[in-house]
Symmetry: C2
Subunit: 242 residues, 2 copies
DNA sequence: CAGTGGTCTAGACCACGCG
DNA sequence: GCGTGGTCTAGACCACTGT
């Protein structure tokens, strides 16, 4: 392998995994590491980017780089079931910001409403043990009376399903679309991740019993500490293909 | 915004989206672009990395950088249904390599067999219109007689479900786990993507009617041209929670 | 203010593709 | 061989954090 930054990343990863560099301890300054590995600063930083994407390093501008053991992954259960409550048992927190907005093109197409339709937007940031776990924006037509939703909020931001149920809305169909991509600027800030950390982007739409799209959720999960699992059907039908 | 490479990326993206730089045409050499934007080469290359991750630029070492319109996404249908055949209608191709291997730790835990168990590994690369669309490795216990599988191969590498069915194996449960991460070296080569392109990593295990794990699939989809959709249940049960 | 990471440059040198 | 992208360096300068 002729790529030096991968060499550096491999060695640092090994040192963190084996505890030579203890978890949660600060790494030596980048300049020192560069000298130690006999590489330039950009090369060393490239290596740290790799490790950051893998969850072994967390960077803080002005404070330092910190070794981490990759996080236990938050499980998002696709399908109709609410998100797993998580096994970590750590403290969870949630921040919700509500505002009225007008449907812009992307969201309006998902909600199947004209552009400019008044919507209520919930920006929901869920944390566990001080680490951001999910970042979601929820859009509902403003005509739906949803004041109760905020009061009925659960400790999980992505678990809007329960909120709606508790608000008395019956939905019958959900569609989910999952992609992997780089985070945008807002997601980087909310989830405290860098541009080269992959995220799982989940679009989920709920359709109520009358066929109306009740809400659309744009959920972003950091790739280094989240996974999607599928609720497995109990059995396979015999009429498999479409 | 004080970050110059994002400025450059924004401008180039606009030029490609609006057709000022036609799709499939070669971009000016990096040195020329650097001069045009009055930035250094590393800065310009950072901008190109961003666009590559978004699917607007494809890079070829020694040949040049090419403008692209982001690909129509290949849809992977999670759940039990075979993968969508794709709407592109373009030519599809598939390469399969088979070899016998011994179960290493990661795969052995997924298959629930001891380490060292003889396995058959299928490495499957699916292409459409000359672009790699999916890269999968399939592991089955060697004791299963699967010679027919290769003959019965479908044009979609990730569609092993049909292969198994046609081989007479009845499976009853599937589990799927989806994560987003950076590609490893092998995936970068097979899918022709760079280190900073996100991938959807899907682990799928099939369990047959006797409870045995029949196979495990490690499927990698390039984030810039694939998506996962959920087969929506026709209706929601009332006994929702677990 | 001192120490840290973040961005950027100019240029050297290497690796690849193609004629 | 030539033109292309890929990697790397040394150092300047900026921005953030905590004292």
């Amino acid at each position: 392998m002729t790529v030096r930054y991968l060499h550096v990343a491999d060695d640092l990863r090994r040192r963190i995994m084996t505890g030579v560099i203890p978890a949660d301890s600060m790494l030596p300054p980048e300049q020192e590491l560069a000298i130690e590995y006999q590489v330039g600063k950009p090369t060393l930083r490239r290596a740290l980017e790799v490790l950051q994407g893998e969850g072994f390093v967390e960077k803080f501008h002005g404070r330092g780089n910190f070794a981490r053991q990759p996080f236990q992954r938050t499980t998002y259960l696709a399908g109709w079931r609410p998100a797993d409550r998580g096994d970590g048992g750590g403290a969870t927190g949630i921040e919700i910001a509500v505002q009225e907005v007008q449907a812009r093109r992307y969201v309006s197409s998902l909600l199947k409403v004209p552009e400019g339709t008044p919507l209520v937007e919930y920006a929901i940031l869920a944390e566990q043990d001080g680490m951001p776990r999910s970042w979601a924006r929820v859009y509902l037509p403003a005509e739906l009376s949803v004041t109760r939703l905020v009061e009925a909020r659960s400790p999980w931001g992505d678990d809007i399903t329960e909120l709606l149920t508790s608000a008395g809305i019956q939905f019958v169909v959900t569609t989910e679309r999952i992609t992997a991509r780089a985070p945008d600027a807002e997601e980087m800030r909310a989830l405290r991740i860098a541009a080269w950390t992959s995220v799982l982007a989940i679009e989920r739409s709920l359709i109520d019993i009358s066929g109306r799209v009740v809400e659309t959720i744009l959920l972003t999960l950091p790739g280094d500490r989240a996974e999607v699992r599928l609720a497995a059907p109990a059995a396979f039908g015999t009429e498999a293909g479409r």
